[in-house]
Amino acid sequence: MNTQTPLVEMRDMQISFGGIKAVDHVSVDLYPGEVVGLLGHNGAGKSTLIKILSGAYAADGGEIYVNGERAEIHNPRDARKYNIETIYQTLALADNLDAASNLFLGRELVTSFGTVDDDAMEAECRKIMGRLNPNFQKFAEPVSALSGGQRQSVAIARAVYFDAKILIMDEPTAALGPHETQMVSELIQQLKSEGIGIFLISHDIHDVLELCDRASVMKNGELVGTVDVKDVTDDDLLGMIILGKKPEGVEVS
């Protein structure tokens, strides 16, 4: 369907933990401006697959291509070099630090003396939070003092601030109320229009049907198939998730 080069292509990925194949010969891809949903039960391997891309796990086999070129991703620093940003389900925030320190963690702004420039970071943090979550005011407090939605917006700001080309969102709305969920949907639409490719991990089928262009379904570490979201119903997706059954009369890759 698409002749341009994929932004990311993961080919034949494998990883095992203590003899259990958590990801078993799985291939997925993602194009610019596209949202691909990764669906599956808990333990289906979707988070593990995506952690290979974000550098948290080292794959046992398989190849990753970014813009058609072979990419070597061994740790989170490598992933960041390819402009791959991740919003983890756990948010991965250091609770004892403030929002700005978390936003810039691992990539601090420094002064000409090489010391961290907290004031500049707070100023930048205020700017991006003003865009993402204008109600956000708690810049001086550690993030442990923030609400679930506020913490989420810090995690999102961290991914968005550094010019992500590829964004991985692991259950971004799981801990959010309806208002904040709406905010995340709008953000996804906006990022999409800027040409960013997004992997959206979810087990909420309605999220996926609403937000995604394609959906890749995993079960027991294997890929059931990838479908165009507009070709399928929620029953089709449920069949793929629960039974591992490919829907009839639909192109499945």
């Binding site: 974000s54 948290a56 989170p76 620093r77 250091a94 004892n96 963690l105 691992g106």
Partner: protein, 421 residues
């Protein structure tokens, strides 16, 4: 009244925990002052407490980083002894053979050797903890035994003394101070520097358009900072050097000693070392990436890892730093005693950990301040010196210190729960 005080503290931007610790310290001083008819509050006693706290306080600043990263170091007391013995043997037995007795460079070589030795051993322990993933408790418990044993081996248990005369100055004593004039100059310089730092920070904040404290609040803080520094120098400059030492010192300088001549001690060199260490460590903690990563790793190791922080290498660096500071502490401790016997540093690991913990460092990781650890060390030493001067016997001293440690941590836990921090 209570709310008024609270809003004043808020406006001044003061740290309540800091106020609490200073309050505890002042209470200890006043109580012992009353029981000793004011002897405890004499310049002489403040001078002694400041010198006696220095070695443990230097190590406590490093222990903050170790505990903040959710580790522990039980080996610092033994390591201090091992380094002290090796450094003493170096300057007593080895260097004089090559350079001649009393050569000017001996103290420099010895001091650099002590710091390098500490950093190397610390880095090795950190490597075992970070890369071989053996728990810090076990690695440093092993180190605790290994270094105490290795210390004996260096000289087959022989006490090393006397140390190089210049090296000895690093431990304080009548000669090991800045002297009156330099102490005043130092106080002035430190006051100006403190005020300048506060002004710069204020200007930087304002340039980003952040709200700053009201000018009067900033002014009060500057006055307090400069006042405390000058007050400290004044006390140190009010402790006259005893007659015997005066005669020795005047002779060394070729000045004729006359009765009624008074020289005062001034700020002791080990205290100056402690101040420099505390400032450098505070800058590392607050203003460097390394320090930021130490706290981030303590707060959430997984998040730190996912942010691209090499937490294993960080562990190596933290323990290397702890080792280097143990080296500095070892210089101070051995120079102060002008001798190293196999008991040097015994139980220091517990004093250091207690100082860090009393100073608000949380064993669960992620929280702790350098100034807290220094004040913690001061509290410990004040308690011990105070009880000794009141005549409390040694077993009871230990009992009191032990109870205070547990009590202080409980207060800290309650405080954290209340403030949600």
């Amino acid at each position: 009244m209570q709310t008024q005080a609270k809003s004043l503290i808020d406006k001044l931007g003061l740290d309540v925990r800091l106020l609490g610790m200073i309050g505890a310290l002042v209470v200890i001083w006043v109580v012992f002052g009353v029981f000793t008819d004011g002897r405890f509050l004499s310049p002489r006693n403040f001078f002694n407490v400041s010198v006696q706290s220095a070695s443990v306080a230097v190590m406590a600043t490093g222990m903050v980083f170790v505990i903040v990263t959710r580790n522990i170091d039980l080996s610092v007391g033994s390591l201090l002894g091992f380094i002290g013995m090796a450094t003493a043997a170096l300057q007593v037995q080895v260097l004089p053979d090559f350079l001649g007795l009393g050569h000017w460079s001996i103290w420099i070589i010895a001091a650099l050797f002590a710091i390098a030795m500490g950093a190397t051993i610390g880095a090795f322990q950190g490597w075992i903890i970070g890369y071989l993933t053996v728990p810090a408790f076990i690695v440093t418990l092993g180190g605790f035994l290994v270094y105490r044993g290795a210390m004996w081996w260096v000289t087959q248990g022989q006490t090393q003394a006397p140390l190089d005369p210049t090296f000895r100055l690093l431990g304080g004593g009548a000669e090991g101070t800045l002297g009156e004039t330099v102490s005043w100059a130092f106080g002035l310089f430190a006051s100006v520097a403190a005020v300048a730092m506060m002004l710069l920070s204020r200007r930087r904040k304002a340039s980003h358009g952040f709200t700053v404290k009201p000018a009067w609040a900033e002014g009060i803080l500057m006055a307090i900072a400069a006042g405390l520094i000058m007050c400290f120098v004044w006390i140190m400059n009010s402790y006259p050097i005893p007659k015997g030492a005066m005669k020795r010192m005047t002779k060394a300088q070729g000045i004729e000693y006359t009765d009624g001549m008074v020289w005062n001690h001034g700020v002791a060199i080990p205290v100056l070392i402690l101040l420099v260490v505390a400032i450098v460590m505070t800058i590392i903690a607050r203003r460097t990436r390394f320090g930021r990563y130490v706290y981030a790793t303590g707060g959430n190791p997984e998040a730190a890892e996912l942010s691209g922080i090499n937490t294993r290498l960080l562990t190596v660096k933290v323990f290397a730093l702890m080792g280097a500071l143990t080296g500095i502490a070892s210089i101070i401790a051995s120079a102060r005693l002008n001798a190293v016997d196999v008991g040097l540093g015994t139980l220091d690991e517990l004093r250091v950990i207690a100082a860090a913990v009393i100073g608000g460092t949380a064993l669960s990781g992620g929280a702790g301040t350098i100034y807290g650890a220094v004040i913690g060390a001061l509290i410990m030493q004040s308690l011990q010196s105070g009880m000794a001067s009141v005549g409390v016997d040694a077993p009871l001293q230990n009992i009191v210190v032990g109870i205070v440690l547990v009590f202080a941590v409980w207060v800290d836990i309650v405080y954290r729960r209340r403030t949600g921090a």
